[in-house]
């Protein structure tokens, strides 16, 4: 038992995590490709045409997964930031830092695909409605987190300041999620809910879930790749980085 604990915590050090992450990245890329291929196949060739929205509804297969990921990544990022703050673990803070740009990208894609869906169905690219505005705030929270971290020279102080912003911003995630029930909005209700059976065809649901899994695996692969670069940048003074095979001339 104690042995297992020690082994687990061993990977909390950048030194041991760096090669481990390198080994994990191809696995997540493979999974992302498999889920993506299956998801796209279902999205375009299996899921039937929608009765009211025709083929235009197919935007759902990227819109809902990117929106889910934008919220989910924020929660994970805030979790790592909190761990970095409370345990003073620098690898946790690096993970939070590595997730932020990918989360921002997902929030942007959610807004972008939403605009491209809103234009043909609602007749407008954008409305200042609760769902859309709260998602825009999420995008700005990501940007704020990144800008704040970039503006502080001492990395550990940047981690702490960023963690506080990330944690305060968590309040926005349930606001996004419940905005469609709390306010009158143009946006439709939740596509999938735990407490009711899905209102859409099973193939549509599966298409969405597979695309979400693809983006999930993609996000892990990309965050691990980015955290490796961050580790090298921030640990460049250490002996182990100097002795890395790719660094020695």
């Amino acid at each position: 038992m104690s042995n297992r604990l020690i082994n687990w915590f061993r990977f909390a050090s950048p030194h041991t995590f760096y090669p481990l992450a390198g080994k994990m990245i191809p696995v997540f890329w493979t999974l992302a490709a498999l889920f993506g291929a299956a998801g796209l196949w279902l999205s375009f060739f299996v899921a039937p045409t929608d009765a009211t929205q025709g083929e235009g509804y197919r935007i759902i297969f990227v819109h809902v997964p990117t929106s889910w990921m934008s919220m989910f990544i924020y929660m994970v990022m805030a979790g790592w930031a909190a761990m970095g703050l409370s345990l003073n673990a620098r690898l946790s803070s690096m993970m939070a830092q590595a997730l932020a740009p990918t989360g921002a990208l997902m929030a942007f894609l959610s807004l972008w695909t939403g605009a491209f869906w809103g234009k043909p169905m609602w007749g407008t690219w954008w409305v200042w409605d609760a769902r859309l505005t709260s998602e825009l705030i999420l995008f700005f929270l990501y940007l704020g987190f990144m800008a704040l971290q970039a503006s502080i020279d001492d990395p550990r102080r940047a981690d702490k300041a960023g963690a506080i912003v990330a944690l305060v911003g968590v309040v926005n995630v349930p606001i996004i999620y419940f905005s469609v029930t709390w306010w009158n909005t143009l946006h439709q209700g939740a596509s999938v809910a735990i407490n009711k059976s899905p209102s859409m065809a099973m193939t549509m649901l599966w298409g969405m879930l597979l695309m979400a899994l693809c983006l999930w695996m993609y996000s892990i692969a990309v965050a691990l790749t980015r955290v490796r670069a961050i580790i090298l940048e921030r640990e460049s003074h250490t002996e182990w980085v100097k002795h890395l095979r790719e660094v020695t001339p």
Binding site: V222, A229, V241
Partner: protein, 62 residues
Amino acid sequence: MNWNSAADFFAMGGYALYVWGSFGVCALALVVEPLLIRQRHTQIVRTLRRQAAAEKMEMEHP
């Protein structure tokens, strides 16, 4: 099968701009982001190599 021809598929029932505008930008983003990160990684490795080379030189010719 939903489509009778390739042209039918690309037309997306008249929603081509919106469907491909969404999927296209997502695909582009998922290609560009890993490329940018790879660039960042190469950059830091190059810097570290240069530092290592400089240190080595300093040790050999103080």
